[in-house]
Point group: C2
């Protein structure tokens, strides 16, 4: 099996999606972006990857319309940051579903992460709607938290 | 970036899941299994991969408890098939979410696939619950169909 087949024209939409997000690093970059990371250094520090590799990765995600470049000012210089696009944010259910599966089938003995719908404050067992109130989950109404620290928004670490 | 980091002990459950399903071929094998494929030849014909590669892949998925070996009789011989485990079936929401994203952000001009909850017959916009009636989706109550051919259960092709 070749490492990366070209599935961009596949009949199956799952294969077409995997053509974009089949590399797990893409989903880990999105994980950081969904938690508010926008600057190169934030992605680098969270993911622990070399500058050149991350730069190439972010560029590919811009090309795929998962991220959009956005200039910002820092130290009196204009730098380039990365904002989630609509298509990037719409991958939230994929990440939520992976989180639920990981907690269920690859649990850790200490600690646990949960998907919390901030609209009603409940932990949701579903990936794209709140299993408590039914509202659709979006990048702006979800937190990933440790249930034992209610209300604390925690960055996920590797 | 190494191709496959070891994320099995990661704090983040998304990373732990990606340690198992980060290879897109794993999700494509699960796609076939969720549609009823159990025999080696069924996976091979659907995915178009060499015997040796598929055999290694299926073995790894058995080791990861996504599939379980199950003997069956054919041509008066006992052969080995592969059945979805509970952990394998629980990846349905990941695949549904990828299908929804692919149809929305990588649409094809002809044809479209939908996730249908057979319990109420409605197309669901959600990955793990029916957006029409609210019931939880499972491997046994979902079909992937082309909406223009209602009621026809279609195998997805690459």
């Amino acid at each position: 099996m070749p490492l990366r087949s070209d599935w961009s024209g596949a009949t199956c939409p799952i294969a077409r999606s995997l053509d974009v997000v089949g590399d797990p690093w893409v989903l880990l970059v999105l994980r950081e972006a969904l938690q508010g990371a926008t600057r190169f250094e934030e992605f680098r520090d969270a993911l622990g990857v070399a500058d050149s590799v991350l730069s190439r990765r972010l560029g590919a995600m811009v090309d795929a319309d998962l991220l959009a470049r956005a200039p910002y000012r820092s130290d009196q210089r204009t730098r380039e940051g990365y904002l989630l696009t609509e298509a990037g944010g719409d991958l939230l259910p994929v990440l939520n579903a992976l989180m639920h599966w990981g907690e269920r089938h690859r649990p850790r003995t200490t600690g646990r992460m949960a998907v919390v719908h901030e609209g009603c404050g409940a932990e949701t067992a579903y990936a794209d709607s709140c299993s408590h109130c039914g509202e659709r989950l979006t990048a702006s109404n979800v937190s990933w938290v440790k249930p034992r620290d209610p209300g604390v928004r925690l960055p996920l670490v590797r």
